[in-house]
Symmetry: C2
Subunit: 151 residues, 2 copies
């Protein structure tokens, strides 16, 4: 499907979607966060055609979201591991997961949820906070043109 490239957009949402707009990308990142590293593991988990998976993994490596390393068990297979940039996408997955859990599932339906690995309790719902720490609602957020704030 042909699409307009948003690579040069000044909107960080648009530019991000240009990189990760393909839903396979986020599902590969999800699986990588869950510890999958091998081509065959991703293929089994996603049920994706091999040529499509090859292409997506290549893109993710080119974008610096995944890195390739030799297998830790000494076998001939490569392993794909998330970079820091890739691991940071966890926040996007948490936001997607919480929205889906709230609006797309019946209350008694089985749903994979994100929990902390210590107490195995669901994460708190994400909240929007102003710079001064106030919790704000979606209506209080506006998009403004600016340079990226220094971290």
């Amino acid at each position: 499907m042909k699409r307009k490239s948003l690579e040069g957009s000044t909107c960080s949402v648009a530019r991000t979607l240009d990189i990760i707009g393909d839903w396979w990308t986020l599902l590969i990142v999800r699986d990588a966060l869950n510890g999958l590293t091998r081509f065959g593991e991703f293929q089994k988990s996603l049920g994706i055609a091999k040529n499509m998976l090859t292409q997506r993994l290549k893109q993710l490596v080119e974008q610096g979201i995944l890195a390739v390393r030799p297998a830790t068990d000494g076998s001939a297979w490569n392993e794909y591991v998330l970079t820091e940039k890739g691991r940071a996408l966890q926040m996007v997955l948490v936001a997607l997961s919480q929205w889906g859990g709230e609006y797309l599932f019946d209350s008694k339906e089985k749903c994979n949820i994100l929990v902390d690995n210590k107490h195995h309790q669901p994460l708190r719902k994400l909240t929007l906070q102003a710079q001064d720490g106030r919790t704000i609602t979606p209506d209080e957020v506006v998009l403004e043109r600016s340079t990226v704030p220094a971290e």
Copy 2:
């Protein structure tokens, strides 16, 4: 492009991507959050073909993300407004925007950022919190099969 439907998936990330995996969807929601309501306004903002926009708006209404209402100015045009379910996608946009702002822009590059409408300061970076309020890292999050937690 043919794709596997994830509508019945038990993974809330996968099910959400099945609904909003098309990047146009999130850009329409972004524009709606910024106050756009008319077909022509979305079309101008997105540069999307009219037939594609018609189809996406129809899907968004069917999914309960947008609602259609008569024009508030008495003209013949319909207006598209976000439902509560649609407004809740703001969190996904914030997560995408913050990731993009951090990893896809040079420090001096112009970038649209999300600010609070009171002090016009950038939002705080989203953080992951365990149920007990502890801030946790992506590495401390695991995906578990469960029913949706009661709100």
